[in-house]
């Protein structure tokens, strides 16, 4: 038996002595986590509960994720929002105090450099970027807008994400003050006596929170959350299957410098004010390419879709997609077993001509054409609290 382990979760060419640890490393080990290299960090891929049960527990109760490897950056100054708009096709100026928005750093060709979250605290912007991209993102910010706002890299902060329908109760159990009421809202909150920045967000498709906490107090907060009823620690393995079922993109797999936001079907992330006819149209890297695709949808050659096979065999990243005549029409960018849908779930890019839901195509699974159908996403319904 040869173990072909899922590369993105379990393998890394980085020698372990150069890996960083999050402030929760000792806690993960004491909880029995299996630690693996991920984006330069030693991270828990699973705990003794196992990926399958961790996934289902998060959907049914509450799971606690350590996402401290992600980058946290503050942008200070009166020009910060306007400056950040020069790097993202997103309405940043319009983010109300106490609200958060999803965004994308684009390059001059309209490709995606990273995806990120922007929270307006009312006095500065709190930005969260992917671990694997953070050094490059920070350099990008410094180079392009470092003269327009003060960029503070907050390596001293950790990030915890309690996720699932039970996350609100878990937070309320240790909070002094009101927890954020709706999806993508946030503010400062005292949790277990610790001053935290909390937003009602996450990347599992469930209701939940992301908590920015001083690194030295992170373990105390994690223990307080794990002490609440029905909260289990959850590893990267379940994080991947949860986000895939939710139809959410993983940077480096479903998004990269060769995919545009339009091809990635992230049009919803680009508000009208930055589009043709909008008050602040363009003015971000790759604007002509991206606005060209938005203005002329027929010019978009490929797009990201969900795929559902007829059988139960999981179909993994990199598998070629073909039409009935055997022509290559696309590729799988994320694929695996979805515990909630109890079957395989797949995301990929295919030629627009074949992208309509219901279209039947073939995935070349171990050289054999395997029928799959284009479907809408998410695969598992979102549990966001929108009121």
């Amino acid at each position: 038996m040869i173990l072909r382990l899922k590369e993105r979760v379990l393998m890394s060419e980085i020698p372990s002595e150069t890996l960083s640890k999050t402030p929760l490393f000792d806690l993960h080990v004491s909880l029995g986590a299996r630690m693996v290299p991920f984006a330069g960090y030693e991270m828990p891929v699973q705990y003794p509960l196992g990926v399958l049960k961790e996934h289902l527990h998060t959907r049914a109760n509450a799971g606690l994720f350590d996402v401290s490897h992600m980058g946290q950056v503050e942008l200070h100054g009166p020009d910060a929002a306007k400056a950040l708009e020069t790097l993202v096709p997103v309405d940043v100026i319009g983010i109300a105090p106490g609200k958060q928005r999803y965004a994308l750093f684009t390059n001059d060709a309209g490709g995606i450099l990273d995806d990120l979250m922007i929270f307006n605290t009312g006095s500065y912007l709190h930005v969260v970027v992917n671990a694997a991209c953070k050094a490059q993102d920070i350099a990008h910010l410094r180079k392009h807008i470092g003269n327009r706002c003060e960029i503070r890299v907050r390596d001293d902060l950790a990030l915890l994400a309690p996720q699932g329908p039970g996350a609100e109760a878990a937070l309320k159990g240790i909070a002094v003050g009101d927890v954020p009421q709706t999806f993508m809202a946030g503010g400062r909150l005292l949790l277990a006596g610790i001053d935290c920045l909390v937003t009602r967000s996450g990347y599992t498709g469930e209701d939940g929170f992301e908590i920015s906490v001083p690194a030295e107090q992170c373990e105390a907060l994690a223990k307080a959350l794990l002490g609440q009823p029905n909260v289990q620690p959850i590893g990267l393995g379940a994080r991947d299957s949860l986000r895939l079922e939710a139809g959410l993109c993983l940077y480096g797999h479903d998004l990269d410098t060769t995919t545009t936001p339009v091809e990635a079907t992230l049009n919803w992330a680009m508000q009208k004010v930055r589009r043709t006819g909008g008050e602040r149209v363009g003015g971000f890297p790759g604007a002509s390419a991206i606005l060209g695709q938005l203005d002329n949808p027929a010019s978009v050659k490929r797009k990201r879709v969900g795929l559902k096979p007829e059988g139960r065999a999981p179909i993994r990243e990199g598998v070629e997609l073909q039409d009935a005549s055997g022509n290559k029409i696309g590729v799988v960018t994320s694929g695996g077993f979805g515990p909630t849908v109890n079957g395989p779930v797949i995301m990929g890019y295919i030629d627009t001509a074949h992208a309509a839901p219901g279209t039947k195509i073939n995935a070349m699974l171990r050289g054999t054409p395997t029928p799959v159908t284009v479907v809408g996403m998410p695969f598992a319904p979102h549990g966001y609290k929108r009121i």
């Binding site: 173990l3 379990l10 996934h55 065999a313």
Partner: protein, 121 residues
């Protein structure tokens, strides 16, 4: 009945010339929760080290190889219906398939239990 182990973490339990093949507890633990099993067809003639069954866990894909030359005479359909049996009882109810071994010397050349335990220690 003797049990022998491959370098790739399959076991073969011999009863006369019939060998029951599966994966070891060490292997199932490394793979994590199994979600999919594809068995070889009964009657298929396998060569030693040939891919016989395909398995997928929540985090990995893998093949179960034939430990020795032989013909598949029975497959365990229970693990196709419920792959978690391989995790919960890999060397019992979670067996994969039975082969009629045609080259006993290949089985004899595999690790015994003590050697296998030393290998994974």
């Amino acid at each position: 009945m003797t049990t022998r182990y491959t370098e790739d973490h399959e076991y073969i339990k011999m009863d006369g010339d019939i060998g029951t093949v599966g994966i070891t507890s060490f292997a199932q633990d490394k793979l994590g929760d199994l979600v999919y099993v594809e068995q070889p067809k009964v009657g298929r003639k396998l060569a030693a080290k040939e891919d016989a069954a395909i398995i997928e866990s929540v985090k990995a894909a893998a093949e179960v190889k034939a430990p020795a030359d032989g013909e598949v005479i029975e497959v365990n359909e229970a693990i196709v219906a419920d792959p978690s049996l391989v995790n919960s009882d890999p060397e019992g109810a979670g067996w994969f398939f039975k082969i009629r071994v045609t080259n006993a010397a290949q089985v004899a050349a595999l690790h015994g239990e003590a050697a296998y335990k030393a290998m994974i220690a």
